[in-house]
Symmetry: C2
Subunit: 368 residues, 2 copies
Amino acid sequence: MTIFETRLSRIREWMAENGVDVTLVTSPPNVFYLTGFDCHPHERFMALCLQASGEATLFIPSLEKNEAEKSGFRSAIVTVSDTEDPMEKLRSVVGDGPFGALAIEKQHLTVARYEQLQTVFGEAKSVAAEELLLKMRLQKDAAEIAIMKKAAQIADRGVEAGINAIAAGKTEAEIVAVIESTMKSHGASGTSFSTIVLGGEKSALPHGSPGSRVIQAGDLVLLDLGAVYEGYCSDITRTVMVGEPTDQQREIYETVLAANLAGIAATRPGVPAMAIDAAARETITARGYGEYFTHRVGHGLGIEVHETPSMHGKNEQELVPGMVFTIEPGVYVPNVGGVRIEDDVLVTEDGVEVLTSYPKELQILAVK
Amino acid sequence: MTIFETRLSRIREWMAENGVDVTLVTSPPNVFYLTGFDCHPHERFMALCLQASGEATLFIPSLEKNEAEKSGFRSAIVTVSDTEDPMEKLRSVVGDGPFGALAIEKQHLTVARYEQLQTVFGEAKSVAAEELLLKMRLQKDAAEIAIMKKAAQIADRGVEAGINAIAAGKTEAEIVAVIESTMKSHGASGTSFSTIVLGGEKSALPHGSPGSRVIQAGDLVLLDLGAVYEGYCSDITRTVMVGEPTDQQREIYETVLAANLAGIAATRPGVPAMAIDAAARETITARGYGEYFTHRVGHGLGIEVHETPSMHGKNEQELVPGMVFTIEPGVYVPNVGGVRIEDDVLVTEDGVEVLTSYPKELQILAVK
């Protein structure tokens, strides 16, 4: 049984237990997770359709036919061209019903598509398929972990190249280009998100946009980046100093580093996700910077760069082995600068393994 | 009045005409179009809320506060932190109702979010806001056209750099890195989509993934790429030959080029969108390759890389000045190779202006 067949049978069991007639999986990450087919069809219709009878059918845009056939999916593939009605094709597979319960991804499916589906499934009760799918994806298996370690290593190389580019006197945008091409040349198929390099006052903007600003003495420079490798994301942030730091810059840096380490130290099976946020936040609050830590401590990571578990201060979900998430406390002082230090961590049987490994002690770069 | 205020007043008129109490704009492209705030909040809640009273309120994740304040938006901004309930914040702005009609983006809003909104808006009738928003975005104004011309020029530079990299004997992935860093260094904030460079048999896969394949003699090499510049996308495809083409490779190339030119020649105000698809398709069919042209001739382009108008063979929508779309016929012969030639075009008062300008005659690169 392939890994994909194993995953599909788990869904079939869930359908039987919950009296679900048809499950439609429509989000690209979940279609990839269940079939190995990595496709972003934009506004076109793509769905993995599982029927109570056991049948699995993958609906894809016509132009993706060759790629789909090369994927890990071994059941029926139905193509839909740009001039065909996907609902007619769907009806020809599932029949006229009646349908009691339809499982859909409520967090992905749009209201417009759902209204279309109602023309096929009538008044079938809608059931959220997310709970199961997210639960399955929450615990990474050995193959996934091996891929994610490699994705993290590629991100380490990206950080290294970016920091070398800062030292060489480049602009934010030029540093981004160096980081992204370095990751590509180490095997990344893409970036987990648009690479962020922000210097000086801009480093206090958690998600600002890199521009033509030249890095200069006195700048804290924040680099936040990630690689996609074999469909899985990494995500790392490092912050470096250009020229001698002021006392405050050094204090902010040491505060955030202590928070990052406190978050990692708190990570192990059985503790609630919110304990990681609390460990980092208490460290920052104790040093007087609590009001400048304006976001949750981290987020789950996998096929998507943001997935469950959400590592916020109210999430009581218990950590279990196989979870992968970021720990990324930050302190952003307007008009002074910001520091964020982010690692990707794996919950192991008895603790934690940090997947990203670029050094974290304060690096002071010479002025060009 | 700023361009954003002008756009908002057009929505307010529409709300009055259609008896809409509240409009919630939630898709990042439409929020950007209406506020100048370019933000992708992932799973966090972001919405521009327009009330019949005229009030406009932008709900954003807390960590985006500084960026939002720097945007073009001049009305109320409400932040939602990761531990706050966005629906409570929304209720505090819109009140307890009752609400007769709520306009939402049905093609963007998820079923899960809609179920949450029902806790605030009760049984309010849902109205699709897309029709108006898409209609507004369909005709680019002078400022948008100036930006899109620049985005197209950056893509031209990307193609040029990519073709030079082919000549230098690089792999597909290395060529991608060169293209993307070239576009960044010419001002792109990102790419419209993951850059595609496919050689040989892989060029017959319309959306295959670039890998470690080294380009070699006898390959058709397809480059499909785009730049994002000031929030707007470009999209260009060129195909080049490495080494001497076979007669069939040359015939495919000339067929696709003729189809691209036929599509451009057919473009002017007043003709239906489907006429452009037909002009290109007839050219290809007449030369015997109709079955290998497996997708629509193009798609609208703007803030999104795929937007209206869809340039497929059944779209009767009339072309009007200010529309921008791609014309990208392709012929993909399995095990032989594929050719696609794509330009971005603007419908003008009396015809068409082609925004992408990299040459289209068959380029034959020397073998390394």
